[in-house]
């Protein structure tokens, strides 16, 4: 499968975010939040390109995930850092790959423990399909439908260049498709 160039997708979502910010009446009420780790890399690149000095923070929603009871805490979870007042802010939430929507739910729950944002806009590099919740991204670089045994990973090399890789696990998970009768 031919994967898109993540650098091109990044330019694309950066332009879309720029357009959204141009429409915003008071940009000083906007703030960026990146979800660890890929979302944070993307956010830093976007902020650099747009030369914005809007407040920004980072989230690792591990403490709010719904699979804690099954999987426990990841050993590599990072502290969240939201150094601005969330109350009444228009927040642009950035993640790399959108899949089930569960990370977004956890991230939104965490954000609300910092305050009541005026709005949250979700921007992602790729929507890979498979949402399990009524949540979908507002700004998307590309839509690529993948199977459940496939996993798409964003990585960053030492020079800061982004790369996408696709992994396939041996077992195909059985998925219940909706009945179309």
């Amino acid at each position: 499968m031919q994967l898109p160039n993540p650098e091109t997708l990044l330019s694309d979502i950066t332009a879309k975010i720029q357009a959204q910010l141009n429409l915003a009446t008071n940009i000083e009420h906007c703030a960026f939040v990146g979800i660890h780790s890929g979302g944070v890399w993307l956010m830093q690149r976007i902020l650099n390109t747009l030369k914005l000095d809007t407040p920004y923070g980072t989230l690792d929603a591990a403490l709010y995930r719904d699979d804690y009871a099954q999987r426990g805490l990841k050993a590599e979870s990072k502290p969240s850092n939201i150094p601005f007042n969330v109350q009444d802010k228009h927040i642009i939430l950035i993640d790399d790959i959108f899949y089930t929507g569960r990370t977004t739910r956890a991230a939104m729950n965490e954000l609300f423990d910092y305050g009541r944002p005026a709005s949250i806009t979700l921007a992602v590099l790729i929507n890979r399909g498979g949402a399990e919740l009524p949540i979908s991204p507002n700004i998307v670089g590309a839509e690529i439908l993948l199977n459940h045994n496939q996993s798409l990973q964003l990585s960053q090399d030492t020079k800061g260049k982004l790369h996408l890789s696709l992994k396939e696990s041996a077992t195909e998970y059985i998925r219940l498709e909706p009945n179309n009768d």
């Binding site: 709010y64 699979d67 804690y68 805490l73 979870s77 502290p79 790959i97």
Partner: protein
């Protein structure tokens, strides 16, 4: 030998002592604690991890501070907390430890935090409880106090991140201190090259060198160029017989004053597990001075206890997936 603290996959199941814990687990606890430091600085100091779980603080020996920090930690993880001061309840009516524990299991407790004046009591309880229940040792006799050891190490790591390049001195009553043992194990496991103990011979266990420490009986030699001075409390209530001439005499020889502290490195930090005996093991102006990190230790203690409970309370601890 099977480590009773780990499950078959090598994940933390109970926290009973730092002795024998792999570096991987120690680092997991310390790294997770970093996450919880931030939680305490927010308006809403609570995360939903242990929602619907019940944590039982079973204290067979009183300790208001330790119990309070465990209680705050559990509540910030959204657990329900039950405090039992068993010393003042059923045991005085003749109930055995295991009967007390069985009753709490029947009430569907999920985690036990145990303090007991007998070494090994939390270990005994951990062997008895069913699989889904975790036990945390909150201090047993002279044996161990792992969360205190961990919070001290966490504090050191925050102020002196390069653990492989440190000289640390523990000063005072090592013999009666369960904190000292836990700490020495944690520091050596994490690669601190030089751990010293400074104490009179009467307050040192006979086999102390076997723990991998250098022994000093003189403050001036022992404090020279250290990065961390960790004071231990003179455990008055544990003193049987005449081990020391007097509190004043002890202060003169082993009490930490500003003058003695100047022998350490200029950026050395001063720690104390509390409660302090001011004017016995530590001078007030040192305890309240700008090198003291005694109150940050208390703050970090909550984050470390939250980390331990969060690791014990959830699944198998394997890497999650799904975006």
């Amino acid at each position: 030998m099977i480590n009773p603290q780990l499950d078959s996959d090598g994940n933390l199941k109970h926290l009973l002592t730092i002795e024998g814990l792999p570096t991987r687990i120690l680092n997991q606890i310390l790294d997770t604690a970093e996450t919880f430091v931030g939680v305490a600085e927010r308006d809403i100091k609570k995360v939903p991890l242990l929602r619907g779980k019940t944590v039982c603080n079973i204290f067979f020996e009183n300790s208001t501070r330790t119990r309070t920090t465990f209680e705050i930690a559990a509540k910030r993880l959204s657990a329900d907390v039950i405090n039992l001061n068993v010393g003042t309840s059923s045991q005085s009516k003749g109930e055995t430890i295991l009967d007390t524990v069985d009753n709490l299991i029947a009430m569907h407790a999920d985690m036990f935090v145990v303090r007991h004046n007998q070494s090994g009591a939390p270990h005994f309880i951990a062997q008895h409880v069913p699989d889904h229940i975790s036990v945390i040792n909150a201090g047993d006799g002279r044996h161990a106090h792992p969360t205190q050891g961990l919070l001290d190490v966490f504090t050191i790591r925050r102020y002196k991140p390069d653990m492989h390049n440190l000289r640390i001195a523990l000063v005072g009553d090592v013999l009666h201190s369960r904190v000292a043992r836990s700490e020495i194990h944690a520091l050596t496991t994490l690669g601190v090259p030089e751990v010293r103990v400074i104490a009179p011979k009467t307050l040192l266990p006979t086999d102390v060198e076997k723990l991998g420490v250098q022994v000093f009986h003189d403050m001036k030699a022992g404090l020279k160029d250290v990065d961390v001075v960790m004071m231990l409390r003179l455990q008055n209530e544990r003193m049987n017989g005449a081990m020391l001439p007097s509190a004043q005499e002890y202060f003169k020889t082993f009490g930490l004053t500003q003058e003695k502290l100047q022998l350490a490195k200029p950026d050395a930090i001063v720690m104390h597990p509390g409660p302090m005996n001011r004017g016995v093991e530590i001078d007030s102006c040192v305890a309240d001075g700008n090198q003291s990190v005694i109150l940050p230790q208390v703050t970090y203690g909550i984050a470390v206890r939250m980390a331990v409970m969060a690791i014990l309370g959830g699944g198998s601890g394997q890497t999650g997936s799904g975006a």
